[in-house]
């Protein structure tokens, strides 16, 4: 036995006598996420792509849901079917909460993945999965924004000539506030992905919350604050508020990161004159849905801190009598 080993044995004896303390420190918590987590989380790169179903998909329109984003192609022999089959199982295991989760599958093979083919492929796994494809010049920036490498490899000797695509098959989790929280590399146990989705759902309050906020957006005033001194520095916020609870509630106030204050307003038609009035609350009967929309109730963002640009997102925190504060992110249009 070398002197080093002898010393180590002595140290081992000592460490044994130090009764059962864990040999390794517990890792610093990262909100309890089990897959690969980003800290601090940043806004997920937004993108617009044609969906295989024909509609246009825009990531930021899914605020309020947990988005499970992954990349692949329909001719993929093994990896992609595995990922999608696992995600279908995960969705099934989520039960009722699955409706707060959207799986999005972006093609890495625009040459072969036409919308019909992609739709047929994703539907094999789960009819709610959204497949996105389009021309390479639209897809490539999305691959790049998420660090997905896409390399085409010809299959030598194949008749007719064919190819495979080597691509990263990570699963990205984007929380209800639109932040990229997790990148789970291929091979991450699906139990861990399920755990993290549940955690993001619970965190956003989306799973069991009585109040659900849908389709939040902000409209810029016609003249913008960057137009010069004296220009209006207001904008209007809209959102659909759904009270799924068994008790009444009321929207009582709101704040945002982009304005000094937010007031609750109602536009009323007074003998042909459209009048805007400040209101102290917006009542929400049990099971009701109230739309804050142009010409009705809305949020008035007063004292904008900077100009708002179309496409950017702003944080809106709405306070309810019973449900407390709920934060969402709204797209500027």
């Amino acid at each position: 036995m070398t002197p080093g080993r002898a010393l180590a044995l002595i140290a081992l004896v000592v460490s044994c006598l130090a009764a059962g303390a864990p040999a390794q420190p517990a890792p610093a918590g990262n909100a309890g996420l089990r897959s690969g987590a980003f800290d601090p989380p940043r806004e997920a790169p937004d993108f617009t792509l044609p969906a295989a179903s024909g509609a246009e998909f825009r990531l930021s329109r899914y605020l309020g849901k947990v988005v499970v984003l992954t990349f692949g192609y329909t001719s993929c022999p093994d990896v992609c079917p595995t990922v999608l089959a696992e995600l279908a199982q995960v969705r099934e295991r989520l039960g009722g909460a699955a409706k707060r989760v959207q799986v999005v599958y972006v093609s890495v093979d625009p040459e072969r993945d036409n919308p019909a083919r992609l739709l047929g492929f994703t539907e094999q796994f789960d009819k709610t999965f959204l497949g996105l494809t389009g021309p390479t010049d639209q897809l490539a920036p999305v691959w790049k924004a998420y660090g997905v490498s896409v390399v085409r490899r010809e299959l030598p000797g194949s008749q007719p000539p064919t190819y495979l695509i080597h691509h990263s098959a990570s699963v990205f989790l984007i929380d209800a506030a639109g932040r990229l929280r997790v990148m789970a590399p291929f091979g991450t146990p699906s139990d861990d992905v399920l755990h993290d989705i549940r955690l993001l759902l619970a965190e956003s309050g989306a799973q069991d919350a009585a109040i659900i906020l849908e389709k939040p957006w902000v409209r810029r005033a016609a003249a913008m604050p960057d137009a010069g001194p004296g220009a209006p520095s207001t904008a209007a916020g809209y959102v659909n508020v759904l009270n799924r609870g068994k008790a009444r509630d009321a929207l009582i106030s709101a704040i945002t990161d982009v304005a000094e204050r937010v007031e609750l307003h109602e536009t009323r038609n007074m003998s042909g004159m459209m009048m805007m009035e400040k209101v102290s609350k917006v009542e929400l009967a049990a099971g009701s849905r109230v739309e804050l929309r142009p010409g009705s109730y809305h949020l008035m963002l007063i004292g904008l801190k900077h100009a708002l640009a179309p496409g950017q997102t702003v944080t809106l925190t709405l306070e309810f009598e019973r449900a407390g504060r709920i934060t969402t992110r709204a797209e500027v249009r």
């Binding site: 180590a8 044994c16 987590a37 601090p40």
Partner: protein, 142 residues
């Protein structure tokens, strides 16, 4: 007769040491492994742009399930970096635990060879392998 207590003490000592070695060979590993942390230092992008031969991270990176199985990468640079498939904003950290052995290869511009390799070894098996691992751990610490 006078040597008997010394013999008993020596015998007891041997029994204790054997007991401890047996414990070290079979005792379960900690429930959570430790983290292996890498930091992309400030100025990395500038150094890479200047063409300095500069390895920010080793390759391969070795981890062991149940022992040192959490990879943490922090970007302290002012700009975004991509480490294999991980895009890290400035002052952002990515933390990933590994629970299964494996071998992963990613393209990586932060490696001089252009490749990041992760080797995740299985946990040391109960018996001689775990005993040797515990002794190595203590040797490394001392």
């Amino acid at each position: 007769m006078t040597r008997q207590p010394a013999a008993i003490a020596a015998g007891a000592g041997v029994v204790v040491v054997l007991g401890i070695l047996a414990w070290a060979a079979v005792a379960p590993l900690p429930a959570t492994g430790a983290a292996l942390t890498f930091v992309i230092p400030p100025g990395t992008a500038a150094r890479l742009k200047a063409g300095e031969p500069f390895n920010v991270l080793p390759s391969p990176i070795h981890l062991t399930v149940g022992v040192r199985d959490v990879l943490v990468i922090t970007n302290d640079d002012e700009v975004i970096h991509q480490v294999g498939p991980i895009i890290l904003g400035s002052r952002q950290t990515y933390r990933i635990p590994f629970r299964k052995p494996g071998h992963f290869k990613y393209a990586c511009s932060l490696h001089a060879a252009g490749t990041l390799t992760l080797v995740i070894a299985p946990p040391p098996a109960a018996g001689l392998e775990r005993l040797r691992w515990r002794l190595d751990q203590l040797t490394a610490r001392s």
